[in-house]
């Protein structure tokens, strides 16, 4: 019968249940199967330095014991199991120790849950009867305690391992992203050379042909098509290069409010057509930044474009600017449902897109531009409702000197997760 309990405890501790579920089941099992009237498991909380009631089979339990309180405190001090019995069940004192948990019981046995020096907690058994358990049973409970301790240990190790694994995985994802970006830089550099030169020839000679063709000739449109397509390809190459290479920034003092307004203006019609209500709350305080206004506008264009694209069937676009000490802050909020949490870590990656016609470079470019201006982007994703992209840029004094150490340790983040 004793071994029966032991084997069932082992079965439970080896199961796939979460740790607290396991402990509750074990406590319940012991309370039912042993001649005891209460069984509790207290786990040692290293941070708070307290024993906390985690599981109990039958009856209530004292919620927590301090490091030196009650029987658990005594067990922690001596490192060994303790057994008390008393005459008056209403007293709280047994074995020279005061313990509120003893009220209403006649005797108790408390076993340490530990592995060498590592403390996990105590197993607390109580009885209303005069006699405690026979020696054979006690030994078995000692074994059970060890089994519980080792199952807590492996659970803790597992959690540690899983955290380490997650960290590694996260790091790997970021490394891969960095690599992708670098590869993109190299790719675009060779792209520039391999494609731009032939394009110069094709486009250049097309232009020469065009001059030779008589006006009104049916062949004119052919040549014009060639020219137009070449121009288009050249623009694509410029786009990719502009973002991949550190294009020289044309720095001037720019007013963030004006740049934002400019960007918004571009989308007025699209918003109107898509029945998107635009709420503009621009700061009255000036927000001068040292910036390449053209690039900065591209950054906001991309954010606004994404917001609008997320609200195909209408919604609300809120653009708010405010001064926060020496930061100019821009919030762009949409009601487009946000981003599935599982993929939000990817949105700044080059070529990541969920759109049929997207290139997936919008946010990559935006991130790069903002970082180049010593700013950061934060993303607050309210999945199901919408998303807020927050851009923070260091403001300058009127003379247009770049504020020193603009980053000030700021980091872009995706709702608490660091962006690449």
């Amino acid at each position: 019968m004793g071994y029966d309990i032991l084997s069932r405890v082992i079965e439970l501790t080896d199961s796939d249940f979460a740790l607290d579920v396991k402990l509750r089941k074990v406590a319940g099992l012991l309370a039912r199967q042993l001649p005891v009237d209460g069984c509790e498991v207290y786990l040692w909380d290293r941070k708070d330095r307290r024993f906390r009631a985690t599981a109990h089979g039958r009856g209530g339990a004292v919620e927590a014991y301090g490091e030196k309180q009650g029987l658990p405190g005594r067990v922690k001090k001596t490192g060994r199991a303790i057994e008390v019995s008393k005459k008056d069940p209403e007293s709280c004192r047994g074995g020279g120790v005061e313990d509120m948990g003893l009220r209403g019981f006649r005797g108790a046995m408390v076993y340490p849950l530990r592995d060498g020096k590592e403390w996990y907690g105590v197993l607390y058994l109580k009885t209303e009867r005069k006699s405690l358990l026979p020696g054979r049973r006690k030994k078995m409970i000692g074994v059970i305690s060890k089994q519980i301790a080792s199952s807590i240990k492996s659970e803790r190790n597992y959690v540690r391992l899983r955290n380490a694994y997650n960290k590694l995985k996260d790091l790997q994802v970021r490394l891969v992203n960095a690599e992708k970006l670098m590869a993109l830089g190299e790719l675009s550099a060779s792209l520039a050379h391999e494609i731009r030169n032939p394009l110069v020839s094709i486009g250049g000679f097309a232009a020469r042909l065009r001059k030779k063709i008589e006006p009104g000739s049916p062949h004119l449109p052919y040549v014009e098509h060639i020219s137009k397509q070449v121009t288009r390809l050249e623009e694509i190459i410029n786009d990719i290069l502009n973002f991949a290479e550190h294009r020289e920034m044309k720095l001037n003092v720019a007013e963030v409010n004006a740049v934002v307004e400019d960007a918004l203006w571009l989308f007025e019609e699209a918003c109107h057509n898509q029945k998107i209500k635009v709420v503009k709350a621009l700061s009255k305080e000036p927000m001068p930044v040292v910036a390449d206004a053209h690039q900065l506008k591209i950054a906001f264009d991309n954010l606004i474009a994404n917001a609008i694209q997320s609200m195909e069937h209408g919604g609300k676009l809120t653009v708010r600017t405010r001064r926060e000490n020496d930061l100019g802050v821009v919030d762009i909020t949409d009601s487009g449902g946000g981003i599935e949490p599982g993929i939000i870590g990817n949105i700044f990656n080059p070529f990541f897109t969920t759109k049929k016609t997207g290139t997936g470079l919008g946010l990559t470019i935006t991130h790069k531009i903002i970082t180049r201006h010593r700013g950061v982007i934060d993303v607050a994703n309210d999945y199901g409702r919408g998303i807020t992209f927050t851009v923070k840029l260091p403001c300058t004094d009127a003379r247009g000197t770049l504020p020193p150490g603009g980053e000030r340790g700021m980091k872009s983040s995706i709702a608490g997760v660091l962006a690449p």
Binding site: A192, S201, R208, E245
Partner: protein, 120 residues
């Protein structure tokens, strides 16, 4: 008198294109397919302006530029390249202008006109 322009580029298509276009603008154009050839040409005849490609097999444009400026300090050189970011590289500062290659030759022609006028 016609201004003499030396076009240095390893791609035949681009040499031909520049030659025809610049001749139409009233220049007389000489061609070189490599840096070495360009330097030889410069020794042999008097040139008013050099259009220099940066990325060429053998001696690259930046090196050619240095050699030109050592010997012919006042000879204007326009660097042409497919990479906009070369602009910041050391070495290119010595050129008189810098043009990112494009099938639209207007920018290039304007720079040429500017420089030749300044020189005159």
């Amino acid at each position: 008198m016609k201004k003499r322009v030396l076009v240095v580029d390893d791609e035949e298509g681009i040499r031909l294109l520049y030659k025809e276009e610049l001749e139409e603008e009233g220049c007389s154009v000489e061609l070189a397919a490599s840096g070495e050839e360009a330097l030889k040409r410069l020794e042999a005849s008097s040139i008013d302006l050099v259009l220099l490609d940066i990325k060429m097999p053998g001696m690259d444009g930046v090196e050619v530029l240095r050699k030109i400026k050592e010997k012919w300090k006042d000879l204007p050189v326009i660097l042409c390249t497919a990479y906009p970011h070369y602009k910041q590289d050391f070495g290119t500062w010595a050129s008189d202008a810098y043009v990112v290659k494009s099938s639209d030759l207007r920018e290039l022609k304007e720079k040429i006109k500017d420089i030749l006028q300044r020189k005159a």
